[in-house]
Amino acid sequence: MTDAPAAAAAAAAFAKPARRHGMGRRERAAWGFVAPALIAIAIFFVIPVVSALLLSLTDFDIYALADLDNLRFVGLRNYEQLLSNPLFWGAMKNTLWFSVLGVPLSIAASLAAAVILNARVVKWRPIWRVMFFAPYVTTLVATAVVWRYLLHTRYGVINWALQSVGLPAVDWLGQPETSIPAILMFVVWKIFGYNMLIFLAVLQTVPDDLYEAARIDGAGPWKQFRHVTLPAIAPTLLLVSIISVAGFFQLFAEPYVMTQGGPAQSTVTVLYFMYEEGFKWWNLGSASAVAFILFLCIFAVTMVQLWAARRMGAET
């Protein structure tokens, strides 16, 4: 597990002061412990990420895959072509819709479930907690297949439920207007338990006295939520929304299994676009540019949210 020569080499490379003073037994052991992980991270994470930027500046395609002599440096041409490609903009727009609808929806579901489960009068709370979380650990592809049938126009249970209360059946996955909401129903079902557990953990740190005091002041359930619960979970809310945005920006398997990007490209996400560009058409240079744009978008949204949070924190 710990490779002594590799550890020594790594130590020599990184730890100049230690070499000057002679490295102690303990420091050598420490390098032995960290070197394998650091080397793996360097080779299989750092190098690929850096190369992605370089790759996005080349015209790496199926010809270069066959013979590297066909590879050329093209500067920002991949980016220019993407920005004038309506399919790419379609993927950006779809991903934005998924996030704009999905992030508030999933957080609202998580928060509602957490507030309900935090009430002492609810019985068997530990059991519900685990049960509500369970969909999160299920295999995405398998549950997406299940939901594809639940959403089936003719035989689906969801349409049957709608029709039995007198509403018309909906062609959920078959028309561009409903395909994103349909996939989001599945996604919220699958992930709400995760943030629910995080909210629950925070809610349990809110002292009961605060609710008691609010009740004595005549605050109803909504006012208690607004003035006691919400301030207590505000920092967590920010953290959770940042993580959720990054997650919704990376939807891939859901449309792959449920709609294959359709109907009429309405569920092609940025990551789906990257997959097709890279592994269906083998335009790896262009696909890397897509990956980089995706990263910049996630990074930018995170920065904006942090900035907004700091401003709100300064005002209150």
């Binding site: 412990f33 299989f44 009430a119 509500f132 592809v141 967590t236 890397s288 990956a291 990263f295």
Partner: protein, 271 residues
């Protein structure tokens, strides 16, 4: 106060129904005779229980093979990830070495970079090494888990220094201290991280889809996705396939849920 109690318990029951229904429906349909699910109104209970679809999956669809691949890859990923990250996480928490803080800061910064960015170059790299369509290629991303390293370090910070010093005074080498003193104290976080990696590898889709090109190497999710494109009409068989894919991880999670939830909260609330 009484209506509030009834309302809250009712709300819990409704959420529980929504959460459980798709999973129960999946199991129920997987036991129905062929074609029964394609009816209106959709039947909820099989008219007659049959295990034909499960047998069919193993006999003619190669399900045994895919399941073996998934089990082997998830197990190997777990062992490798623990072997690489546990010693490193401990060293970052408890052993002093030059550049420790700086390297750790860089790793924490790198946490914001989604691994998907490196997918394409990593594929090309592994292609150059001849690892496309091999277990080794599928396992590579699990070696370099910054998150795992971070999780172990947070936990290892709580090991008392006196305990390590006492072992050193007794003349134990650093390797012996790690095995005899540190590993037993880290046991809960090792279970947690092992569980994360096993479930993560079992459920992973994009990377195995890219790197495992030959059907005989498919994992369950990749095989299921391919199967669902060919057999759209075979609802009952697809549900049997979904049960076989979901059941192992769901059972594993339920058995070890304490470890999972504790580790998840430690990783997200503090981080």
């Amino acid at each position: 106060m009484k209506p509030r109690v009834i309302l809250l318990n009712l709300a819990v029951a409704v959420v529980a129904l929504i959460v459980l229904f798709p999973l129960l429906w999946m199991v129920s349909v997987s036991l129905m005779p062929t074609g029964e699910a394609a009816n209106f109104p959709p039947p909820l209970i099989p008219s007659r229980i049959t295990f034909d679809h499960y047998r069919d999956l193993f006999v003619s669809q190669g399900m045994g093979r895919y399941m073996g691949n998934s089990f082997a890859l998830a197990t190997l990923a777990t062992i490798l990830a623990l072997g690489f990250t546990v010693p490193a996480g401990y060293a970052f928490a408890k052993l002093r070495f030059a550049g420790r803080e700086r390297i750790f800061q860089m790793l924490v910064g790198a946490l914001v970079i989604p691994a998907q960015i490196g997918t394409l170059p990593l594929f090309l790299m592994l292609k150059g090494m001849g690892l496309v369509n091999t277990y080794a290629g599928a396992l590579v991303p699990w070696l370099a888990s910054i998150f795992g390293l971070f999780l172990v370090r947070q936990y290892a910070l709580s090991i008392p220094d006196e305990m390590l010093e006492a072992a050193r005074i007794d003349g134990a080498s650093e390797g012996q201290i790690f095995r005899r003193v540190v590993l037993p104290t880290l046991q809960p976080i090792i279970v947690t991280l092992g569980l994360f990696v096993f479930l993560g590898s079992w459920n992973d889709f994009l990377w195995p889809l890219i790197i495992l090109t030959d059907q005989s190497n498919y994992t369950l999710p990749v095989a299921l996705a391919a199967l669902s494109r060919e057999h759209v009409q075979d609802i009952e068989m697809m549900m049997a396939g979904s049960v076989l894919t979901v059941a192992p991880v769901l059972i594993l999670f339920l058995a070890l849920q304490r470890y999972y939830i504790r580790g998840m909260l430690a990783g997200s609330v503090k981080g």
